[in-house]
């Protein structure tokens, strides 16, 4: 016990002396929570529209002002030449070109129908679709109104209509930040845990201190515990710090049990740190370690479902994701924090994290031998 205490003390002193590491531990949660959460929003705002109004009628002007009034769209430029609009899209200054042909009002009045042209920059397929959908619904709405106006009916309603009033559960205001925050928290914990644990063991190799330690009667388990426990503590500190920031800055509702969040945090970290230790038993320099952990981080994060829902990935990818600890932990965080899920709802994640944790730790223990 006394040995373990000294080993832990030594690790903490080393972290404290490492100014760069210390700054990272403090700065990482702040930057990630404040920058990443705000920046990576999928809320569609500020779609810039290039308007080509060749009709110049009162109806076309009404349509234009209706679109401009919507919070999603801004009419950025107008011209009579659609080619200019295409150039604007090529230059990435505008996202959409709306072309109103000459005779729009006349066709609408005489033939009861008229055509509009909508050119959408679809480099980013998802936001193009959302933008198109929004624009179409604004135009559809406008359509209903002019019919009502011309027919002289107070509030025209088509005879048959299915109405789907919707209510969004768990995040009723569709606040994207609330969805992102638990995801970014999971990233934060992963980044800190994986980097700290993997570099600390390999540092002992690089400095040769492992050679000196290996000839002492220190037990394997004491040594590895000395590498695990401090980083679990630090990563949990960052988790709580990040949660605190999310609560204070964007009022993240924490519906579920915080104890559950932290218990899963410990379980998750044991696995992640086990992976970090495993990587550092295989590698010999900090560079190699950084390279390998970066490789794992990229795959883990991009497949974790932070940006794209895992449910829409191909079946094989979803299967692979079962071995992705970040995916499970992110689910746990989102479910507990946003929905208030209980442990019974998280059995699957619990089992998966246990299996992954035991696997990584066993690998690390097996690979770390005291004799070369």
């Amino acid at each position: 016990m006394r040995t373990l205490f000294y080993v832990l003390q030594k690790e903490f002193i080393q972290v404290r002396r490492d100014k760069v590491m210390l700054r990272m531990i403090i700065m990482l949660p702040i930057v990630q929570m404040l920058v990443l959460v705000y920046a990576s929003t999928y809320d569609l705002k500020n779609v810039n529209i290039f308007l080509v109004d060749k009709d110049m009628s009162s109806t076309s002007r009404q349509l234009a002002s209706k679109i401009d009034a919507s919070p999603f769209f801004t009419i950025n430029n107008t011209s009579f030449n659609p080619e200019e609009g295409e150039n604007e899209i090529l230059n990435n200054r505008d996202d959409m070109v709306l072309v109103i042909q000459k005779g729009f009002e006349r066709d609408l009045m005489r033939e009861d129908k008229a055509k509009l042209q909508l050119l959408v920059n679809a480099i980013d397929g998802q936001s193009a679709q959302i933008g198109y959908f929004y624009a179409a619904s604004v135009i559809g709405d406008f359509n209903k109104h002019i019919i009502a106006e011309w027919k002289g009916l107070p509030d025209f309603k088509p005879p048959y209509q299915i109405n789907t009033p919707s209510r969004f559960w768990y995040n009723s205001e569709l606040e994207y930040k609330w969805y992102m925050a638990p995801g970014v928290l999971a990233l934060l914990v992963t980044l800190i845990g994986l980097n700290l644990s993997s570099t600390s063991l390999v540092k002992e190799k690089e400095q040769g201190t492992i050679e000196q330690l290996n000839v002492t009667p220190i037990k394997k388990i004491q040594f590895l515990a000395g590498k695990l426990i401090p980083f679990v503590v630090i990563a949990l500190f960052d988790l709580s710090f990040g949660l605190f920031l999310a609560r204070m800055v964007f009022n993240l509702p924490i519906v579920g049990n915080l104890g559950l969040v932290f218990s899963f945090g410990v379980l998750y970290l044991i696995g992640i740190l086990g992976l970090g230790l495993f990587v550092s038993t295989v590698a010999n320099t900090q560079q190699q370690v950084m390279f390998v952990t970066f490789f794992f981080m990229m795959i883990f994060i991009l497949m974790s479902g932070i940006f794209t829902p895992v449910e829409s990935m191909p079946q094989w990818a979803q299967l692979i994701d079962q071995a992705n600890p970040v995916y499970h932990f992110m689910r746990v965080l989102r479910m507990v924090i946003l929905k208030g899920s209980h442990f019974e709802d998280l059995i699957h994640e619990f089992v998966a994290l246990c299996i992954l944790g035991i696997t990584f730790l066993t690998l690390a223990l097996k690979r770390y031998r005291k004799t070369a």
Partner: protein, 301 residues
């Protein structure tokens, strides 16, 4: 105390240590002397249970280096060739840490390290990485001694240390030896060989000879000359080109030269070199040093 029998070790296909056998007595200060790549570190790492030999058997205080490695680690102190303490811990923290890992305290064995530690104590709050080379060496020795080992293994402890610190270091080793600690030390410096009780001359993984330094020198019966002239570079080339020269090595300001079958007289060297127009020529007999012995043995191989 240390017994090595037919130890061999190869890294892939490159043999590092080839069939080495020798014994070190209790309380002996035993030196492994040899150039870089002679296999000194490999042999020490095998003894320190950090490496497993391919063949042979070695014991430390009757404990087998493979089977009883756990016991061995309790009774030996090791100082690797590279400074291997925590550079980001202070002198005191390092010492306390290693004391605890060995399940002891600094106070308990302070008597043993007192002489050494007292010299670095004024810097006990300084980070180990910020110490000078000589002080690092003293700290490393203190840490290796903190658990009162019966055997001390030191891998090139004086490499990269200034001459004064080197001398101090050897004085410390002598003192430790008096306290009954068996010491195995390696060094590439020939002048340190004479400070050992016995030395093993090593080259290319083999032991060339084992004896006391005095005996090694006594056994050297060849005629040795010291030669010097104004142009030393030309001198060594001319000597090596001559068919009657056996060996010529630079030793400080002089060349140490032997003749073929030791039948070449000083005057013959002189005449030959005068013919080659060497100025300020000096040729005289010189008693051999341990280095001459080693050079001679290496040339035999």
């Amino acid at each position: 105390m240390i017994s090595i029998q037919n130890i061999s070790k190869s890294y892939k296909d490159v043999p590092a240590v080839r069939d080495i056998s020798f014994e070190v007595q209790k309380g002996e200060l035993f030196g492994l002397i040899g150039p870089d790549g002679a296999g000194k570190t490999t042999l020490m790492r095998i003894l320190m249970t950090l490496l497993i030999q391919d063949e042979g058997k070695a014991t430390m205080n009757k404990l087998d280096v493979v089977n009883d490695y756990k016991e061995i680690r309790k009774i030996v102190g090791y100082m690797p060739g590279r400074f291997s303490l925590y550079q980001d811990l202070t002198v005191e923290e390092n010492l306390n840490f290693f004391a605890t890992v060995f399940k002891t305290t600094v106070a308990e064995n302070y008597e043993l390290i007192k002489d050494i530690y007292i010299q670095i104590e004024p810097f006990k709050n300084r980070l180990a990485g910020k110490l000078s080379g000589g002080m690092k060496q003293k700290l490393a020795l203190s840490c290796a001694l903190i658990h009162k080992p019966e055997i001390l293994v030191l891998d090139e402890p004086t490499t990269g240390v200034d001459a004064v610190s080197r001398k101090e270091f050897w004085d410390m080793l002598k003192k430790l030896q008096k306290q009954g600690i068996t010491i195995l030390v390696s060094t590439p410096y020939m002048d340190e060989a004479v400070l050992c009780n016995r030395v093993a001359l090593m080259q290319k993984g083999k032991v060339l000879d084992i004896n006391t330094p005095q005996k090694l020198i006594e056994n050297y019966t060849r005629k040795l000359y010291a030669i010097r002239s104004k142009d030393m570079h030309q001198l060594i080339q001319d000597l090596r080109a001559w068919e009657k020269t056996d060996s010529a090595f630079a030793f400080g300001q002089y060349l140490h030269v032997t003749g073929k079958d030791d039948e070449v007289e000083a005057t013959e060297f002189e005449n030959y070199l005068l013919k080659k127009n060497h100025l300020e020529l000096q040729v005289f007999d010189i008693p051999p040093t341990i280095e001459d012995v080693f050079m001679d043995r290496m040339a035999e191989q």
